[in-house]
Symmetry: none
Subunit: 279 residues, 2 copies
DNA sequence: AAGTGTTCAACGGGTTCA
DNA sequence: TGAACCCGTTGAACACTT
């Protein structure tokens, strides 16, 4: 099924191609559509999620349960870049186009909702609070603002971002990830976060919060142990604490950086071989 | 030997039984021993008897806060994880995501139909620890929640890192399938299980325990050698130890995942042919 | 020292095939 | 049914420039 399809494409493309032109268009369209439609918010959650009862499930027939899945839906947002890979491994997709313009591009896609603005706001806020109690549960209230994260430890208060306010530039003291509460080494994309949230943000920020769907209530309280289960709420939290997608290098910048590294490497090599003056 | 037997089962519940001839012998023996039919167990028997239910601790919540279960994850627009492989996901399902990406072209065709749907995927999780003990017994606490979580604890001391030390790995210890006692490699659908029980659960969980009928007394003690003879008790045990059907990808999710993989494959191919920029 | 990106092995989802 | 395998995601380490 799909294969065939793809292949065709291949052929199509093959020829001339460049991907770009065509795609770009598609992308845009897609985005637009999605954006509007979706927009919204967090889903609600189905049922169980949280604590599920375990025990035998269905009693009767169950037939399906199926559905439920928490997940369900999604939308994609789409996104731009990605990177490819490098040498050894293969993997990753690449974005083809990517390069394209950095900035604008991003904005378009990313969440249409908030182009480039401070990310936080809007949607994100909502999620923020959590309810801890169980996610699902309900609470869906959105507004409450109460932050607290509870979780004691972790919590960092997002809103304020104490840090700066406090006084000097970066606060430093906190060495706790504002997203999940794990140990942080310093600032990443303009907010204090742990290494995993740093990597997560780099990988997913460009897609935007709307590209993901929360399998729970949309108000997950992120912590070290559950951070990997809800990308949407995790990403939202990242934006909430001030992480900025603009700090992520664009494909071009990364290319540039790599180029520079290679040059330096070459230079060092030559120097060591005495083929170049040592500086 | 057993192979043949198994196949028959397929009939599914069905009427009463029919299992195979081969078994009958076993059955008879058993019956004799036990007396009435009820009560018996599948061929070989093991030791334990009944089953004590319980799950691994992980289940629930943590003490505080949150807890939530991690489950499913997100879906993202694409999702996370995996697929078809997953995991990792896993992942944890990213490059991402295709969703967006590039290949739009693909999308056009492929799914233009359903553009935005929410696909999702999965995720992963891991809970840590636990395991050990085995099932039975024990402890039944449920609460502790996710191991990982442990959170609570953790909260305080970060150091802990629950479990694993390194990071994510799980706990280490040797893992034993909570369902049949065979060797386990890690978590599957949120509980430690062997590869065969993983496949079994994926294939049958959606139908529900009630969809099957126990040929014995309904209280089979599952072990490596008899696990294939009573689907009902095996499935029940799966749920008991905490395996969650929500973790099974839905048809849509699987589709999405496959699509993503195909796209990546195409891209890789094109790259290797130099028809696309390598990133 | 900071703060980007890169690498890589583990994880855990599905898929194949005998 | 289940062993073997595929592969996206995650996060700890690490490489580099500034
Ligand atoms: Zn974090
Ligand atoms: Zn969420
Ligand atoms: Zn097993
Ligand atoms: Zn039984």
């Amino acid at each position: 099924n799909t294969l065939t399809i793809m292949q065709q494409q291949q052929s199509q493309q093959g020829s001339g191609n460049d991907y770009d032109p065509l795609f770009s268009i598609d992308l845009l369209n897609v985005e637009l559509l999605e954006g509007t439609e979706q927009q919204q918010q967090p889903p609600l959650l189905p049922q169980q999620q949280q604590q599920p009862p375990h025990h035998y499930p269905d009693s009767s027939d169950s037939s399906f349960a199926v559905s439920l899945s928490p997940l369900s839906s999604c939308s994609s947002g789409f996104s731009p870049h990605s990177f490819g890979h490098h040498q050894q491994q293969q993997q990753q997709p690449m974005p083809l186009f990517l390069e394209e313009q950095g900035p604008d591009f991003l904005q378009l896609n990313a969440d249409s909702t908030s182009p480039h603005q401070p990310p936080f706001l809007q949607q994100q806020q909502q999620r923020q609070q959590q309810t801890q109690a169980q996610a699902c549960s309900g609470a869906f209230k959105t507004e409450p603002s109460v932050p607290d994260d509870v979780v004691g430890a972790a919590a960092a208060a997002p809103a304020v971002q104490p840090g700066k306010a406090g006084g000097q530039r970066h606060p430093r003291d906190d060495k706790i990830c504002g997203v999940c509460g794990d140990k942080a080494l310093g600032f990443n994309f303009d907010a204090v976060s742990c290494e995993s949230c740093k990597a997560f943000f780099r990988r997913n920020a460009v897609k935007g919060v709307e590209a993901f769907k929360c399998p729970y209530s949309g108000a997950c309280s992120i912590d070290v142990s559950n951070r990997r289960f809800c990308k949407r709420c995790r990403l939202a939290k990242c934006f909430d604490i001030g992480m900025k997608r603009e700090y992520i290098l664009t494909e071009e910048e990364k290319l540039e950086k790599r180029k520079k590294i290679d040059q330096n490497k070459l230079i060092r090599t030559l120097e060591s071989l005495q083929l170049l003056p040592r500086t």
